[in-house]
Symmetry: C2
């Protein structure tokens, strides 16, 4: 451990950032979250944005994951190809300064597809290092861009992104059915009807419009539309990602893992839930420990 | 024919309106289009918006189709249930004034779905009245909300909407892949690859993200992304709408019918194209002729 006195871990997202102070034993002793996501930091102003984190959490070394390493971030940390384990991340840290290391993201090219992730890899490999999940597992990581990740012998071997979260937000904020999607999404009959439709049909782009038609024709109660649409998108997502598997770990923010776990159960699968923040702290601590 | 001296026909869309002056023989002798779509006209100001049309085209009776009859329009013209032929439209005209008649839209409830259309029915039933299409046909009508319409014995019996146009615009204007979708869409290798993927796979919400990943990883030429994404959405649309049919009439704006006709051909089907504006004029003239 190079940083015996402790360090600051930053999970720098597109629209938010979360910073943690980890003490010499790896325990998180302070933290904060704010809206200074990578997109809101002009190129060249990441050193100042990092200095601001130090004024709040202390003058310590920093380990950064997520969009800080993107082409819109502090320093471009190239994607590492799969398969990749935690040592791959450690060996390919990109140093933005003497005390600022950035964790690279991962890429996958195969099955006629291409895919990228940035940020989730720390949570995933952290969960393995902390024995929260087995060395072989299928992990579902909901968010703006949901990831279905295959872990084999402790490494990430392949993964697939589904744009579920972003599509729901696009529909909610900008589409003709948007005014019907403003209600709260919760697991219940409407959500379950949506999931079942998404699991069993492949007509998503048509069924989304049916939400509007049912409302105009008085066929359904409008207040259920947000849950139905969310269920429809998540059901389609699980159909694509779970495929013929029957077990998955759902890792992320509890309000999202709950929805995906319910959908996986409706698909006949077994899901266990893990808090993404705990996995992030486990992963970033493990990376720090291994820095020579 | 009640309006022997001629009349004004208006195709009032959500974001645009198009007005035509038809003379006593049913010929279009003047027209204009502007951006005063139904959404930009405040409730209560449709009489003024219609008066403005008369100052440009003459003090004549008006026959209006499209969003003028929606719940955000001039007068709410309730949806007529399928099956419906041109006489159904004539018998259910809603009179906004003594010389202003609004054509109702259509609804369909069946196959576990609900659906609505407003505006396309005039084009469809006009094409039948003018013998542009047979009395039995499958018609694809691309637009913001693409319609697949079954015509049987001269009536519209059922239809299905696919949100292809709106989804492409949402992705182009607001999504993380938006900057990759700014190029022109044209039929060519990238469009065809997209169509073939959409026809043969049911992972649309995943494949859309792959556009971004391929670009980040340098796997594809970025300038082809708009055509690929359009092809992907249209291929998915044709998979849903053409289903096991092998022939369709594609009716609408030529720049859109071209794309859908190419996709239907790639699906192994036969497509003929019809100009939607000609069909609208045929339909609205036929309705005017039948008004008692």
């Amino acid at each position: 451990m190079r940083w015996a006195e402790g360090f600051i871990a930053v999970d720098w997202g597109t629209t938010n950032r979360r910073a943690y102070l980890l003490d010499s034993t790896g325990q998180c002793v302070d933290e904060f979250e704010d809206g200074k996501g990578a997109l809101s930091v002009p190129k060249g102003e990441f050193p100042a944005a990092a200095a601001e984190i130090r004024t709040r959490l202390g003058d310590l070394p920093m380990l950064l994951a997520g969009m800080a390493g993107s082409n819109r971030g502090w320093v471009d940390a190239p994607y590492l190809p799969c398969p990749c384990g935690i040592d791959g991340l450690v060996q390919n840290l990109v140093w933005a300064g003497e005390r600022e290391a950035i964790v690279p993201g991962l890429s996958y090219i195969g099955d006629g597809r291409a895919d990228v992730m940035r940020g989730e890899e720390v949570q995933l490999l952290g969960a393995i290092a902390a024995d929260y999940i087995a060395a072989d597992a299928l992990v579902c990581h909901p968010g703006t861009h949901n990831k279905w990740v295959f872990v084999e012998r402790g490494e990430i071997t392949r993964f697939r992104t589904v744009m579920t979260g972003e599509l729901f937000n696009l529909l909610k904020n900008h589409s003709i059915i948007g005014d019907r999607l403003q209600g709260e999404v919760s697991v219940g009959p409407a959500f379950e009807r949506g999931v079942i439709h998404g699991l069993n049909h492949t007509d998503l782009t048509s069924e989304l419009f049916a939400i509007r038609a049912r409302w105009l024709l008085g066929v359904t109660e409008p207040e259920a539309s947000a849950s139905y649409a969310s269920g429809l998108l998540i059901g389609s997502d699980v159909r694509i990602g779970l495929a013929n598997h029957d077990e998955a770990v759902v890792m992320g923010r509890p309000e999202l893992t709950r929805l995906f776990a319910a959908a996986i159960a409706l698909a006949g699968g077994t899901a266990s839930e893990l808090d993404g923040e705990e996995c992030f702290l486990a992963g970033i601590s493990e990376i720090a420990k291994r820095i020579k």
